[in-house]
Structure formats: structure tokens, C-alpha cells
Amino acid sequence: MKTAFIRDGILLRSILVTILAFCLVGVVTVAYTMQSARAQAEAQSRERIEQLLDTVQSTLRVAGFVKDRELAREVAQGLLSNPVVLRVTISESGNQLVDLARGGQPPSGEIQAGSLVRDIHSPFVDGEIIGAIRLTPDPDVIERQIRTEIVDRTWQLVWQLALIAGVMVVTLLAFVIHPITSISRELHRMKAAAGDRLRIPAGHSKTEIGRLVTDINVLADDLVRAIDEEHALRLKQELDEQKYHAIFDNAESGIFLIERNGRVASWNPALARLLGIARANEFTGQLVLLDLPWSEPTAIGMLIERVFVTGEAAERDLMLQRPDRTHFWLNIVLSPVGDDLLQGVAHDVSAHK
């Protein structure tokens, strides 16, 4: 059962959905983070190079102003000590003062395209441009820095997502799954008719779970009350039926039900005694009223026909022959009961004839 709970229960589904959702969010977020981290890392690299140039700006102006190749070389070598810088070219009024590259090999044209060029201004005349410096960054170094940045940020994001997912799972477990499991277990064992009711889990008296338990208990109360009422009604009905059976069975008059074709569907012991036939529950075959030994066989048929046609009760005295060949008179009263059934009452009126 525990295995089934883990496989089919809310806990596993919740965890799976949470993890899936976080994976989805994680993939989207990591993709976005990679994109933004790359842009940011590139901007940072460019900013670092700009800062490098700012640092040597003053010396660069002096070197450019006096066309000092040695000083320009010192500046270039200083810049090349930074691993991001691949090549430095300093020129004064179009004349190259120095051109230094890491490893002595000038980079390809494609790499040169990413160079940063900045004007060199005169140290003494504002706005006068006396030369330029071209600084080519090393794309491999920048790429490595970008990758490191992306990996760091991705790991940071993954950890954050994992932590949040873990907290959500624990929260679900503590505040939802555990109480519901407890309620489910109690509900499984609960015998409502015996008065068992669910307990509200601790700390949930005002939560949705508390309201659910309260509603279940109210429902159980209503159900038990309805069952009790139905039971009482059934007992009363059985008692009433017994009374009616007693009246039917103990009546002095013959009482019976006949169908449109004259077949007697049911009769009481009094009619059995009058006609000299077996009781209804002992009779074999069919009892047809028209087939009885009437002195006027058509009269009973006409009486039945009349009641069905008029829909009103009718009576007639009819003479019937007993098995011992003697005759007696019956007063037959027929009343319609529904469309195809008549209720009949028979009295022995021989004494009045």
C-alpha cells in the first residue's frame, strides 16, 4: 500500500510536477541567463579595456606629444601584461610609434575587427588630437571569461531553483500531503454509523483542510440521519402491510382482483371458502371468473364489460353452482382499479333469496 501510495499518491505527483516545472523554468531561465551573461561579460571586458586605457591615458598623451617611442613601448608592454590585451598599436599623426602583439604574431584581420580605437589628445591643448591607440582584445581570453561567468551564474541559478523546489516539496509534504494522508487513512477506517468522525489535523482548524474535514463530518451526520429515517419508515411500512394483510386475510367478504380477460389475479381466503377453491398461494393453474359454473354464464361477463366501459362500480346478484350440485347466490360488486384491473367483493346472499 505504501508503494502504491508513493506511485499513485499526491506526493509523487506533486514532486514530479514541481520538478518538471522547475526544470522547464530552469531551462528557459538558464537560456536567458546565458544570453544576458554573455552580453554582460562582453560589456565588462570592454569596460575593463576602457579602464586600462584610462589608466595609461596621461602617459600616452605625453608619449604621443613628444613622439617618444620608448615611452610608447613601455605603455604598450604595460597594457600587454593584461591577459585580455592581444595587440597594442600607438600612432602619432599617422606615424606608428609602436606596434606590439602578444607572441610577436599580429592577429588575423577578423580579430582586429574587434579592436578598440581611442584618440590621443594633446596634454596641453584642449581638443587637439595628436594620435590614436588601437587595442585589440584577445577573443579566446574573453570567451573563457564569458564561459566562466556563464557557468558560475548557471550553477548559482540551478542551486537556487533546486533549493526553492526542495522547499516547495517539503512545504507541500508538511502542509498538504501529510494532513490529507492522515484524513484519507481515518476516512478509510471510519464507521460513520457507529459514530466515528474525522479529526481535524493539528494546525488546520482554520485552513481549507480543516473546512474539508468539518464538511465531511457534517455530510456523515446527514447520511447517518437519512439512513435512520429510512429505516424507521421501512419498519412502519412493513407494519402497515401486515395490518392490511390481516384485514384482507381475515375479512368475511370475498375480495379479489380480476383482469380485463376475466382472470382472477388475487383473492382472499374468504373467496376461496365461498367458491370452494384453494387459497391463492396454494392454487395451481389459472382461476378465470368466466369459467366458473354460473347459472347465467354471460351475466358475469356483461358485468365486467360494463364496469370497464363506464368506469363506474356496478353490482349484481348471480347464482353459482357448488361442486355438490347445490346452488347459492353471490352479490358481486366490481369497482375499477386502474385501466385493466377491477376489484371485486363477493357476499353470499342466499339467505336473502
Partner: protein, 138 residues
């Protein structure tokens, strides 16, 4: 009283004008220099006059007000900044600072001694042996 004050004001202005630095060369020279050319010569960028004659700039003695005033008006730098500038260039030896004179008279003597000699002196020091080749803007 008013006349006395006015006379004092005129005298003060005259003295100020006579104390301001002007750039001079020997009287025989035909050069006339721009602000940029004087800057380039004194700050070591070029050491030649527009005519092609090698130029030899001569500085006033250290820590004199005239020297400080000259550089402040020429390149808008105080003396410390100018010293720092030359310190940067000192180790490479590519550019050398102007010749350092020991006195104002020595400055004039150096200018007169060599054809490309160029220096800044107080306007009051300018006589027939010297020619003003550039006047600093006010």
C-alpha cells in the same frame, strides 16, 4: 585725492604689464611664433623653429614666479605638473627639458649667445638686443 588714486591705478597696471612674461629671441631673428609653436618648443615636441633653425629653449631659474606664470599661461599647468611631465620623459631621453639658467641675466645671455635661443623674460627686460616673437594671451 581722486587724481592720486587714478595715478596709482595707472602705475600699478603699468607695473603689471611690465612684469608679464614675453617670449624673446635675438633681435636679428625674423621668426614670429604661434602659441602652438612655442608650446611645442618648450614642451619638447619639436626642437626647431618654423624656419628650420634648431631651437634651444631656455628656462628661468627654478621656483621663480616668472617661470610659474609662464607655464600657467602657456599650457595651463602649474609647476608641479610640468615637473611631473618632464619626469615621465626623463628616463627615455627622447625629449629633454629646456636649458636651465641660473638667473634672469643668464637667460638673456644664453638667448644672445646662440641663433636658436628662445626664452621667456619679463617685458621690462626686453631691450634692443632682443625681439619679442610671441606674446602670451591675457
Amino acid at each position: 585725492m581722486l587724481r592720486a588714486l587714478l595715478a596709482l591705478l595707472i602705475l600699478s597696471a603699468h607695473l603689471v604689464v611690465r612684469a608679464e612674461p614675453v617670449v624673446v629671441m635675438r633681435a636679428q631673428t625674423a621668426e614670429s611664433l604661434s602659441h602652438e609653436a612655442v608650446t611645442n618648443i618648450f614642451m619638447g615636441r619639436f626642437r626647431a623653429l618654423p624656419s628650420g633653425t634648431p631651437a634651444q629653449p631656455i628656462d628661468q631659474p627654478r621656483d621663480t614666479p616668472l617661470r610659474a606664470q609662464f607655464y600657467q599661461r602657456l599650457v595651463n599647468k602649474d609647476q608641479a605638473a610640468v615637473n611631473a611631465y618632464w619626469s615621465r620623459l626623463h628616463f627615455s631621453g627622447k625629449a629633454t627639458p629646456p636649458l636651465q639658467a641660473t638667473s634672469e641675466d643668464e637667460v638673456i645671455r644664453q638667448v644672445l649667445r646662440q641663433p636658436g635661443g628662445i626664452a621667456y623674460v619679463r617685458r621690462a627686460q626686453v631691450d634692443s638686443r632682443l625681439r619679442i616673437v610671441f606674446e602670451l594671451p591675457p
